[in-house]
Amino acid sequence: MSNTMTWKLGLIVGAVGLSVYLFYPPKETINLGLDLQGGSHLVLQVEASAAVKSEIDLAINRIGQMLKEKSIPYSSITSSADGLGMDIQGVDSARSADVREILDTIVPRWSVTPSGADWSIRIPDSIKLQVEATSVETTLTVLRQRVDELGVKEPIIQKQGSSGDRIVVELPGIDDPERAKGVLQDQAVLEWKAVAYPPGVTDFEGWRPPATKDAVIQMFGGTIPPNVELAAEIYVESNGTRTEYWWPLQSIAAIVGNDLRSARRGADAMQRNVVDFVLSPEAGKRFQAATRENLRKKMAIVLGSAKGKVVISAPVINDVISDRGQISGRFDVKSAEDLALKLRSGAIPTAVTIIEERTVGPSLGKDSIRAGVFASLLGFVGVALFMLVYYRLSGVNAVIALLMNVVLVLGAMAYFGSTLTLPGIAGLILTVGMAVDSNVLIFERIREELRLGKAVRTAIDQGFSRAFGTIVDTHVTTIVSAFFLFTYGTGPVRGFAVTLVIGLLFSMFTAVFVSRVIYDLVLGDRRNVQSLSI
């Protein structure tokens, strides 16, 4: 055997070996699409414009309040008809400078156009986009958190579409889609509750509750008072250790999530990380009373979700707080940002609507696999039989190449982690149907050369080389349309396009290179080959 032959055989055996290694065992290496393994595919529309509206409403509230505080006379302040800002009417023109100052504090970068006694204030596009983007980001984070709570394995949660306000959520193998949808759309309830210290606790600022429910109940003497409830604060370390603190809390919340207007990471006078938050004016009044009552005590921030209530933080109330407050603690940048985010997520700024749902039960998926694989196998057998009958030993050559093609495609799919969908199964077998075309093109050309009386080796040579250009052309055209398919399609259809393209690329290798090597191998070094089984 010549050197080049060894090299070629090595390449082929290596490629096949690698593929088998990659996709074996297929149950573990090939990702099944939701249509095959069952699960829910959801597309959620984030109403980002609602976030802009609530941002404007907040500004209107605050500006109105400031105008009153500073006793600046005005007749009305309303959101503008275009939904992009507000109009203040009948402002005392002598106080223009003061109005300007208020606007600079509350809406510093908005565009302000005074005309006589009327002021028109508009949110600029840059801020509007920012608000919209933040609302999508926030929603995305909330959804991730909630999917984690659902305990779904390998979920996909990502933005989709050019406008960037859609979120795709894929939940493989869930058995209760209604619950999942409920949790995802749940407007998580955020509450601020004063800590109900058990009798005997004197160090209100330093007290931390025990790690078990029973221990807390014990501290209350065996029964929890009627106006007190328990909620856990949970820490999960990076190594997986889980610590819980069971807080006794007053069951009536001082304020709830809807009262919260915003929360951001900020810095205090000492440049330590804190979380700044803003409440609605009305909630501010309630909070003022609650904080006055609980000064130098702890208040817990409780996040209620489908799974129950969790304490996310329990800061000490250092000052009477009205509508603006600060949560200080030992935050680093990330933890402060995380807390701000959770606070924001409690008050999802926008509604989330499901605009697309596809849920497939596990039994349907299994049936689809069975039917798809069965039809594909028969399709393969049909093609193989035809090739064997029509081209005899050369047909064997083609069938080997086809099998190799399938093996290589499966290997590549396992390697790239691409998902096998039902159309993907169709794509795989369709690839077989198209890959065999290359063999037919070559074999027919070889036959033609043989009919012209050429020697077997020459006929094979010319058959391969003359068919090659045509093979490239036919592959390119199919790949071009698969490309458009990919850009157009979603989920299952993309799976189909990917399988098709991978299969076609490999068929260039198997039908041209591998088949050629097989001929060379079989015909060996014999100088004078008299006949070819084709």
Partner: protein, 326 residues
């Protein structure tokens, strides 16, 4: 040696007017079917809800339909699917304009549960809901992709051959798509995402036969130094030379699609129908539409050249077909 055609000498070109007439008739009929029957659009395009469920015993389609009507879902489609012993039905409910209906699918299931009586629902096998905006966008995207991929073919063949060859291939593709769509409509299949995928695949695949013939025509042209006395004769020869492989390649892919159609389950049926029909139409058009167009184009150019020469100086009309750069 087993062979499909022994040295065929079929005169494809002489009857080209007949075949063009046949194709035009088929196209007109297809358009007529599409015009009158339209195409069932799946919920991906139309919006709405779709559920598939099994009952403990054989469900009564009429009473299911009644239950839905009583629950206020007008225009619901109810059919049995799958094997009879599986007691499975398929329900489709259209969107109610202006309503917020993201819970449409579960609500449909709930109202069927309420009305189930002595034959309880066994399992909800699938449920889907598509909102109204999604569908509209999808129609646009699907059309864009089909037109885009045809344009892609035109450009590629233009680069590899010449403009009129690309045009010929695309005309054949449009022909295939229209006739397949007509049959699709006639048999009442439903347009869905995978079906659009099948049409795109068909565009990519049915051009293959055309390219195989084109390659051979070009090869034969080159062998004659680019000048031929009779283009129809040369095309005839080329088509006869490639006839076996044209039929064989199509046949093999067709076998695969036929298995998918017959045994691949309901989810793949609409999809494979397009391929099963499209491959046949595509093979026919490669032979009888795409290649004759080259002759038509040349004759048309010739006519134009003649008219031109009548006015200007008399020149001999060189029957030369440009054969591309490659």
């Amino acid at each position: 040696m087993l062979q499909l055609f022994h040295n065929p000498k079929i005169d494809f070109m002489s009857k080209r007017r007949l075949w063009v007439a046949v194709s035009l008739t088929l196209i007109v009929i297809s358009l007529g079917i599409l015009w009158t029957k339209g195409i069932h659009r799946g919920i991906e395009f139309e919006g709405g809800a779709e559920v598939q469920l099994t009952y403990k015993s054989t469900p009564d389609v009429a009473s299911v339909r009644n239950a839905l009507a009583n629950a206020g879902y007008s225009g619901a489609i109810v059919t049995t699917i799958g094997k009879p012993e599986e007691n499975e039905i398929y329900v489709r409910v259209p969107l109610v304009p202006g309503a917020k209906e993201q819970d449409l699918a579960p609500r449909v299931v709930a109202s069927l549960r309420e009305a189930q009586g002595s034959n309880p629902i066994n399992e909800v096998r699938s449920q889907s809901y598509i909102g109204p905006t999604v569908g509209r966008e999808l129609v646009k995207k699907a059309l864009g992709a089909v037109i885009g991929s045809m344009a892609g073919m035109l450009v590629y063949i233009w680069i590899r051959f010449e403009f009129q060859w690309g045009l010929a291939a695309v005309i054949a593709l449009v022909h295939d798509t229209i006739i397949t769509l007509g049959l699709f409509s006639l048999f009442g299949y439903e347009m869905s995402l995978p079906v659009v995928a099948a049409f795109l695949t068909l565009v990519g695949y049915s051009v293959n036969d055309t390219v195989v013939i084109f390659d051979r025509i070009r090869e034969n042209l080159r062998a004659k130094g680019g000048t031929v006395t009779s283009l129809p004769d040369l095309i005839n020869t080329s088509m006869n030379q490639t006839l076996s492989r044209t039929i064989l390649t199509s046949l093999l892919t067709w076998i695969v699609c036929a298995f998918l159609f017959a045994l691949g389950g309901p989810a793949l049926r609409d999809f494979s129908f397009v391929m099963v029909v499209g491959i046949i139409v595509g093979t026919y058009s490669s032979i009888y539409i795409a290649s004759p167009f080259l002759v038509v184009w040349q004759e048309w150019l010739g006519e134009r050249a003649k008219k031109k020469t009548a006015v200007e100086a008399p020149k001999t009309v060189a029957k030369k077909v440009r054969t591309g750069k490659a």
